[in-house]
Symmetry: C2
Amino acid sequence: MNKHGGYFGENTKEVMDFSVNVNPLGPSEKLIKELKDKLNTIIRYPEIDGETSKNILAEYLSIHPEEIILGNGATELIYLFARALKPKKVLIIEPTFTEYRRAFEMTESDIYSYISRETNDFCWHKEELLKEIRKIKPEVIVLCNPNNPTGVFMDKSEIENILIKMEDIKATIFIDESFIDFTDKESSISLIREYPIYILRSMTKFYAIPGLRLGYGIGNKNIISRLNEMKEPWTLNALALGSTPKLLEDKEYRKEVMNWYTREKEFLYKELKGIRYLDVFSSEGNFFLCKLKKSNAKELKTRLLKENINIRTCEDFLSLDDRYIRLAVRSREDNIKLITALKEILINEI
Amino acid sequence: MNKHGGYFGENTKEVMDFSVNVNPLGPSEKLIKELKDKLNTIIRYPEIDGETSKNILAEYLSIHPEEIILGNGATELIYLFARALKPKKVLIIEPTFTEYRRAFEMTESDIYSYISRETNDFCWHKEELLKEIRKIKPEVIVLCNPNNPTGVFMDKSEIENILIKMEDIKATIFIDESFIDFTDKESSISLIREYPIYILRSMTKFYAIPGLRLGYGIGNKNIISRLNEMKEPWTLNALALGSTPKLLEDKEYRKEVMNWYTREKEFLYKELKGIRYLDVFSSEGNFFLCKLKKSNAKELKTRLLKENINIRTCEDFLSLDDRYIRLAVRSREDNIKLITALKEILINEI
């Protein structure tokens, strides 16, 4: 059963799916054309570890190919990281994406949580976090940055500060940057040679290709080689691998998407702010966490589905409950429909 | 590094690749058309566990959807099976596909081997095998059927006979039927409700879609549910999932491929038989294991590559060495080129 976002009901085509954090503009036409031209690549095995794409990515990111590992979506690399490091103790910074916890449950790690407080707008209290790290002494710390579902971001300088202060702990920080393409914030990639960090990247969200399955991990050679030892062969399909160069070279698409997002994110945020019966938290992601003041998220979801609108309820995120929903930014038209429906439903619930 | 078959060198387009056990006729045109029409499915997350495709497959195989699990290629399901069962002791019937061993090394299982003898044409000696099973008492037994690289097949009745005789051992037999589509032999699927067996199937080889990544596993509900507990989400890409119905409904393609194979396999076998400096073993797969009487496989591979022919050397298969090569059946034209080159090279080596 799907506990994540994503609508797979009967009206798949008609439903405006605000539960999925994927760029609604869709992939670039150049990519679709490229895939059409490359369909015959499915008759051959993909490269066993995607070497060609890895080299292209390494050049794009100005790092060594030995510092990259490709994944069948970012998800493969979460589970692979857990299996390769098999830490005794993991500290997950919550509330966050639920697959981290599941991955470390499978490696039978002891899982600890540092929970960011709503009273602090879900921002992380660095001193408190450091204290927790010192107390628990985890081998792995998991940070989603920007965080799903809260949208909170920790700057590179703050991360480096934590890394310096916890040097004696020797913990590896796992930083999931799956949503970083949607912000103008700086990635932590430049820290990989100095500190034990492992950075996860997804091509799914920004490039609007969740069906292709393409993600990558970045870390120092030592970490990446540990992951490669446990990596399963041929996990990336030929079309995902084949699309890498086209995706990276398309600066125009990236610019267009960013311009569009800046505009539409601001619009949606403002409109959500204007709804009395709901609190919206500011976000560095392409989505907003909202808190319903008096309504129940599941009921709201059911009501909205009647209007062909799907939302993500958040009761399965640690420390959140049935008052929270997550809304992705969609087209102006869809966003207006959402706002109208929300206003109508929420005002009547009171 | 790729230890398996598959040529990824400079002349990728020109090289006749006999090292890869994939149907050289390529996928059906209907499939390629379908994929073209369905390219826009990449803008959505694939179903988390491929439910729709699972239902279609279940109907096709006349079993319950709860008796099937889908994989990102059969490979995912080898590793997942190892992780889900985490057996203390595994008995692998060798020489065989090397990923089984790697999967069970990762779960830190004690790995035992039953090695079929060349003097017996690599056929399995059932009484001897049973004796080994009784001695070792493994929790899992791995059988590739037809076996890669020997092409040997164990009939369903023989498998059932072994299952009956080892009932007190309570071992699960893992049967990899990735190559069964190429024979007219009966699958062991009908045994899943009576015995603890887990059957692996690949769509890669017969349907000529190694780049798509599509495989499935079949077993009783108990086994499949144990696998589902450990399964990672979204492992199958949207195009692989979307192609399932088209692949299964295309009876014509299957018939065409089988007719072609019957003819070309016989031709290649006869021609290989006619080469004095080489022994060829009969095979139920779409490939032949051959033993060079006086030459070295690696040298032969290097020589053949100059003729744009790639072959699989077999030194990494347990009990085989640098005298063995594996040759896939290709087009008549390619097969003739291979035979001509083999004759020329081998006669001069003597």
